[in-house]
């Protein structure tokens, strides 16, 4: 038992990576937050629910839906957390992990891993269980809550065991798959990663969650053949006072979890150590140095080589996929949560595209922010090469701007096609969008160059937490400043500032702020060079 706890603690600390010294370093913090969070959320829910929702029937319905949903949600949550845990760990790090050569059995390994996931999930679990307890006490459904909480915890372990099986099988399959798949495997990996992160983010969107719970509870009884849903069915039958079926589904759930524990132990025993994948990417020839279409924008062959390298990094590294997932997630959330109304006012239609537009700004910002840190320790290659700070800054900017500009261009085409605003409005929107995009990229780079995080093990982060916070704040302020004249015209001062004047003001502000950000980025890069290697 002690070795299981020790193992889970080691894995949790590895996953947390380079968290600063002090209290937050220990996974025990999550447990403390959970222990405090559970009674607090239960108490607050119990205290305020009647004031928030006046309709008792609605409270009862919400409580019922939530209790039925809990066990299935914890299975899903556990699977997602485990996948995210695996997602940012490099395969070479995993293969040399000391867990692989310590005297630990497969059962201890699986239980340790599952416990580690529990550490991370515990704050969310405690919140869900606390809120549902508050509701259950209010509606006198405490006995149902006890069953839901028990099956919820069981579900969390079930999810963790499922992932252990998946991980072991991936360890087995990935090497041969990657060898055979080549470039197509890279694309599949990229899209899977994006989908995974987008799903993880969307599942915490309250509107999406509410819609899903209602749909789920309505259709669960028709899906009795899915073992993952048996815990939820047990609760549903308990609410319907069908004790025989409650017993059957509960026993089936426990059996199913134990079977998965057995399967995961067996698969881990068989395929334990992940093999660092070897991917073959046939390249017919050595390229002649060229600057291609980037030459039109004044990029040299050397800068083009740097840009090409960064674009390959974006497509090929699983750690980079999260930055592409952000705009993807924002687009999906918009489509799911905001209804498109073809008869609405043009301005409403344009606003519909604001969330995806902001997602694209974030894409450019994050790519620039992590541009230096993503070099990792291979940054030494640039430091010993005959490159100037200006060349690197230009290349990093272009690498962040290229994909985001393409995405923004596509979005503007959509806006034009669907909202069909007048020429003046379209021009203003286009100018403001591209100015904000450039500004966000420049701010990202100017901050990223000052706060790079070159650490590669156990996890990559690319930018320090301090840098990420400063960057977000600065980017928000800079983009707001750039868009202010046009937004002011659209929403408040249309009589005081005409749209062409607002557009011209936006351009002027963008020119000044972009120049300042560029100079700051250049200065930061020169300082980074002067400071020398610190790893």
């Amino acid at each position: 038992m002690a070795s299981i706890f020790a193992l889970s603690s080691i894995r949790a600390k590895r996953a947390k990576g380079n968290i600063p010294k002090g209290f937050a370093k220990s996974p025990i913090v999550n447990m403390i937050v959970s222990v405090i969070g559970f009674p607090l959320s239960a108490f607050l829910t119990y205290l305020f629910i009647a004031r928030i929702i006046k309709n008792e029937a609605l409270i009862r319905l919400t409580c019922t839906q939530l209790l039925i949903f809990i066990p299935s949600f914890t299975v899903f949550l556990s699977i997602m957390f485990s996948l995210m845990f695996e997602f940012s760990q490099s395969s070479s790090a995993a293969s040399t992990d000391m867990i692989n050569w310590l005297p630990i059995g497969a059962t201890e390994y699986v239980l340790g891993s599952a416990l580690c996931i529990m550490y991370f999930m515990s704050p969310i679990l405690s919140l869900i269980l606390g809120v549902s307890l508050g509701l259950a006490i209010h509606t006198s459904m405490t006995s149902i809550w006890i069953l839901a909480a028990t099956l919820g915890l069981l579900g969390a372990f079930l999810g963790a065991f499922v992932i252990e099986v998946v991980r072991a099988l991936i360890n087995r399959a990935s090497a041969s798959l990657y060898k055979r798949g080549g470039k197509s495997t890279m694309v599949i990996r990229l899209f899977t990663s994006i989908l995974l992160i987008a799903t993880f983010s969307i599942m915490f969107n309250i509107n999406v969650l509410q819609t899903f719970i209602q749909w789920f509870v309505g259709s669960i009884s028709n899906a009795w053949f899915l073992p993952m849903l048996w815990p939820s069915l047990a609760i549903m039958k308990f609410i319907q006072a069908d004790l025989a079926q409650t017993m059957i589904y509960t026993l089936l759930s426990v059996t199913f979890t134990l079977v998965f524990l057995w399967i995961s132990v067996r698969t881990i025993e068989k395929y334990w150590v992940p093999v660092p994948v070897s991917i073959n990417l046939p390249s017919p020839k050595i390229n002649a140095p060229k600057n291609g279409f980037l030459g039109i924008f004044g990029f040299t062959a050397t800068e083009t080589a740097l840009i090409q390298k960064d674009l390959r990094s974006l497509i090929r590294r699983k750690e980079m996929a999260s930055w592409i997932a952000i705009p993807a997630m924002m687009c999906i959330v918009t489509i799911i949560t905001i209804p498109w109304n073809p008869t609405a006012h043009t301005m409403y239609k344009i606003l519909f595209f604001m969330t995806p537009g902001f997602g694209i700004l974030l894409l450019a910002f994050f790519l620039a922010l992590v541009g230096i840190g993503q070099e990792g320790r291979a940054f030494v290659n640039l430091m010993i090469a005959p490159l100037g700070a200006k060349q690197i800054v230009k290349a990093k900017l272009a690498a962040a701007l290229l994909p985001s500009t393409c995405a923004l261009f596509a979005l503007i085409v959509f806006v034009q096609a669907l909202a069909q605003p007048g020429l003046e409005v379209m021009l203003a929107v286009t100018v403001a969008s591209f100015a904000a995009l450039l500004e966000a990229t420049l701010v990202g780079l100017s901050v990223g160059v000052r706060y790079p995080d070159f650490a590669e093990l156990p996890r990559v982060r690319f930018v320090s937490q301090q840098g990420a916070l400063y960057g977000m704040a600065l980017m928000g302020a800079a983009v707001a400043a750039v868009c202010l004249p046009i937004l002011a015209h659209l929403f408040f001062l249309s009589r005081l500032i005409s749209l062409p004047v607002a557009t011209a003001l936006t351009l002027a502000i963008a020119a000044v702020t972009c120049y300042l950000s560029y100079q700051t980025a250049m200065l930061g890069m020169q300082q980074l060079y002067r400071r020398g290697l610190r790893f």
């Binding site: 390959r312 010993i384 005959p386 020398g532």
Partner: protein, 255 residues
């Protein structure tokens, strides 16, 4: 006499640790120069200072007459460096990485092509060049790092433990390459823990200990200084660095 590298009273410390103390060195052009010393003696710091990766706290370093701090761009153009652990872009294939390094150094397409193909063949990486570096063994990564350092035909090669992880055949190839390049006037500074290699490859050796230069000379001169004319370089090294009392330690471990 023309010097490839000159250290003038160079010192460097990392927080409380004095990595290099008042080091003076003069390395002649076309020489293979060995840096020996126990772990933490300052060898890697000396090498990183030559490349400009680490800035000295005091003193000056010149490479072929260029000040490493002031004329860093000129120095980088004539320098090839292989760090202790290869730092490569693991998401690129071996070929893409070499292609990238060649582009950074501005090599022409045909020169780039012929050199890359030649080196891939010499180091027996043909057929593996299209695999992503993340799947390479340590030795293969080391070979790629060595090729990358040689692609632009540097005048000064800085090799930190260049033979670590290489199989005997590849190690022999690297040793022969170093000799051949020395004949062509290329200067090499290399560190190694394998004293037989230093003995066989280096024209001149400096022994560093706790950041200070303890001795300098050819291996024969070092033997003479240590008054051990018939001893191996290992015995000389242990005597000079004062770390020759290993017998007692091993006996203590055995008991």
């Amino acid at each position: 006499m023309e010097y490839a590298v000159v250290f003038e009273s160079v010192s460097k410390s990392f927080e409380r640790i004095q990595a290099v103390r008042n080091l003076n060195l003069e390395i002649e052009c076309g020489f293979v120069y060995g840096l020996l010393g126990p772990n933490g003696s300052g060898k890697s710091t000396v090498m990183k200072m030559v490349t400009g990766l680490v800035k000295p706290d005091s003193g000056r370093i010149y490479v072929h007459g260029f000040d490493v701090q002031r004329d860093s761009m000129k120095v980088k153009k004539i320098l090839g460096y292989v760090p202790e652990t290869p730092r490569l872009y693991e998401f690129l294939t071996g070929l893409e990485y070499l292609d990238f390094i060649a582009d950074i150094h501005g090599l022409d397409a045909h020169i780039k092509k012929s050199r890359i193909e030649e080196f891939l063949e010499v180091f027996e990486l043909e057929g593996r060049e299209n695999e992503m570096i993340s799947g390479y063994s340590h030795g293969m990564k080391q070979k790629i790092a060595i090729i990358a350092a040689l692609l632009h035909k540097p005048k000064l090669l800085v090799l930190d433990e260049p033979l670590s992880g290489l199989d005997p055949k590849s190690a022999r190839i690297v040793k022969n390459l170093i000799h051949k390049m020395a004949d062509d006037g290329v200067t090499t500074i290399m560190s190694t823990h394998v004293l037989e290699i230093a003995d066989a490859v280096c024209d001149k050796i400096t022994i560093l200990y706790q950041g200070e230069k303890l001795a300098e000379g050819t291996s024969a001169e070092l033997r003479e200084k240590a008054q051990m004319p018939n001893s191996t370089l290992e015995e000389v090294f242990l005597k000079i660095t004062g770390t020759n009392s290993t017998k007692e330690i091993i006996e203590a471990l055995d008991s």
